[in-house]
């Protein structure tokens, strides 16, 4: 008997199992590809079912193995988890499609698919689990898989970048585990819900423990989600990864850690602590610095993928900014931005990857007039860039609007100014790319558009940008409900 309550756990289990089956298929790669894509599709269906069920009848709590909390591990699928899981499954299906049909950049195809599946499983696990140690385990799986999908490219630069990412990521995990240990010390619980109940009575007695735990958590998640001074691994890692991996890492992985941090914040600590401890101010400052530093560093980049990577640092800042402003509209903006940035950055990374593969040019200064040879791909890049800047009519406008309104609601107009300023900065670093590609002398004539199957994901993502830009109402109830969950 299938009940929708089983859908969340099925998502994780299916992805994990498929991740181990695909490399076992050996030479039958056609079968592996079909399995890879169909698992992605089934996961989208399951997360849609979960989302509808959550919207209809509230949070789904699933006790894994029939052992309820506090002793067992529970999956707690509230509106936030359902929304995140939906975003992850849809965007990653598009990337799966691209990875299968785009020209190979990776030698071990089956192994690459396996790593991507494991990464997806871990991401779904992170956003859905209700147990803090289980969250740690999923974070570790996703960290290892994320490093591995960079290293599979096998070039000098990608190995070096992935090693640095691995070391910093391990440092971040250490910080997280220390934070969990300190929280466990004062609560004696691992289930986030029970932890919150215990903390509501004991938090006042152990202010030092709590403060230290939060410090470690901020450092841990800050490294993993590339919050400003801790972002140093990101540009190299995202710029030197294979195309599909860059899209996956920039579009989803970085954000999953923010989601995890926010889930710990409101499920475990309760939002009151956000106001009592200086956490909110610290996050606001770091987020603003991320936005400014990411944009300024992006301006001086000539390598297109590095430019996109620095832009990710800035966008992570937006999401943190929205969550730490904590007014309803700011949080809605941050939640929108998780989806919209995933769409935009995936589109840009995939399209730029296509350009690099077709032409061999990696730098802005090399792509003079290339748009005449690849009109479709550059139309997609232009749309993505316009949306990044936040031109009305594109999806990027919606999330920036909500964030700016949220900043005004919080009575801190300076952050609205910051958002405007950084939009201008992103125009400064995205427009040279478009201008050089469209104007300037003609490129070599033998450069062609990619095959139709590769253009499909780009088209879908471009349509999504226009669709959410013009009609944002479709996901609105879900976003509202999530924002209420956090700000209540």
């Amino acid at each position: 008997m299938f009940s929708v309550n089983h859908a969340p756990v099925l998502i994780v289990v299916m992805l994990l199992t498929a991740g181990f089956i695909v490399p076992l298929l050996g030479k039958k790669m056609a079968l592996g590809r079909i399995l890879f894509l169909s698992v992605g599709l089934v996961v989208v269906v399951l997360s849609l079912l979960t989302t509808f069920a959550v919207l209809e009848s509230g949070t789904i709590v699933y006790a894994v193995g029939g052992w309820p909390a506090p002793h067992g591990i529970e999956l707690v699928v509230d509106a936030f988890a359902a929304y995140s899981s939906l975003v992850i499954s849809v965007i990653s299906l598009i990337i799966y499609w691209f990875v299968v049909f785009a020209p190979r950049e990776v030698k071990h195809e089956a192994g690459y698919y396996a790593l991507i599946l494991l990464l997806s499983a871990a991401m779904h696990g992170i956003v859905m689990t209700g147990d803090i140690f289980n969250l740690f385990v999923f974070v570790e799986i996703s960290s290892l898989a994320a490093v591995a999908i960079i290293a599979v490219k096998g070039t000098k630069e990608s190995i070096e970048a992935s090693f640095r990412y691995l070391m910093l990521s391990a440092l971040g995990s250490g910080g997280m585990l220390f934070g969990i240990a300190l929280l466990f010390m004062i609560t004696g619980q691992l289930s986030m819900e029970y932890m919150r109940v215990a903390l509501s009575t004991t938090a006042g007695q152990y202010p030092l423990n709590l403060l230290t735990a939060l410090g470690f958590m901020v450092i841990g998640f800050g490294i993993k989600s590339a919050l400003f001074p801790l972002h140093i691994w990101l540009p190299d890692a995202h710029a030197n990864a294979p195309t599909g991996s860059s899209a996956l890492l920039s579009g989803l992985v970085v954000k999953v850690y923010i989601i995890a941090f926010m889930r710990i914040a409101y499920m475990t600590l309760g939002m009151d602590l956000f106001y009592i401890l200086p956490l909110r101010q610290i996050l606001l400052v770091l987020a603003s610095l991320s936005i400014l530093a990411g944009s300024v560093f992006a301006i001086v980049q000539d390598n297109i993928k590095r430019l996109l990577a620095f832009s990710t640092v800035a966008q992570v800042g937006y999401i943190f900014l929205g969550f730490s402003l904590l007014t309803e509209r700011a949080v809605e903006g941050a939640i929108w931005h998780i989806l919209i940035h995933a769409i935009m950055k995936t589109l840009l990374f995939l399209a730029v990857g296509v350009v690099i593969h077709q032409s061999g040019y990696k730098k802005i200064s090399q792509i003079h007039g290339l748009a005449r040879r690849m009109p479709f791909t550059f139309a997609c890049i232009t749309l993505g860039a316009l949306s990044m800047v936040g031109i009305p009519g594109t999806a990027g406008f919606i999330s920036k609007l909500y964030l700016a309104l949220g900043a005004l609601d919080a009575g801190q107009a300076i952050f609205a100014v910051l958002i405007l300023a950084s939009s201008l900065l992103s125009a400064i670093y995205y427009f040279p790319l478009i201008i050089t590609a469209y104007f300037g002398h003609d490129a070599l004539p033998n450069i062609k558009e990619p095959s139709l199957a590769v253009r499909l994901p780009l088209a879908v993502l471009s349509l999504a940008i226009l669709f959410y830009g013009l009609m944002p109402s479709m996901l609105l109830p879900l976003v509202r409900q999530t924002a209420l969950l956090i700000t209540r």
Partner: protein
């Protein structure tokens, strides 16, 4: 005097923090990638010690219900740390594999030299 006494009663936590700082310091100051990796492991060990010490009670027995035994050690942290150790091992194994590849490509294990060979500025 009181401070010393408190340090003595919390000796495990103290050692854990000292180990953590040793690991962190080594990781930041040493150039050799293998030493960095060892430092990372020391840090992990420090956290494991801290976690296990939370559940420890001096004179406590393993939590198996037998007549006459009343003082138990909390088994949850130990069980968790078993998972933590496995994760740490897989991290180390993976990192070592990357170190081998790095040595193949760059011919050195010195992080400064690797950066110099790449010849790129790091922003």
């Amino acid at each position: 005097m009181e401070l010393l006494e408190r340090l003595y009663t919390n000796i495990y936590y103290l050692v854990a923090v000292v180990l953590f700082v040793i690991g962190f310091h080594t990781m930041l100051t040493h150039k050799n990638l293998l030493k960095k990796l060892m430092a990372l492991n020391i840090m992990d060990t420090a956290i494991f010690l801290f976690f296990v010490a939370i559940g420890y009670r001096s004179g406590g027995q393993a939590p198996i219900l037998l007549p006459g035994v009343e003082k138990f050690v909390n088994p949850v942290p130990s069980a968790l740390i078993l998972t933590g150790i496995v994760i740490s091992v897989s991290f180390t194994a993976f990192a070592l594999a990357l170190v081998v590849l790095l040595y193949k490509h760059y011919g050195t294990l010195d992080s400064d030299e690797i950066i110099a060979i790449r010849g790129k500025k790091h922003v």
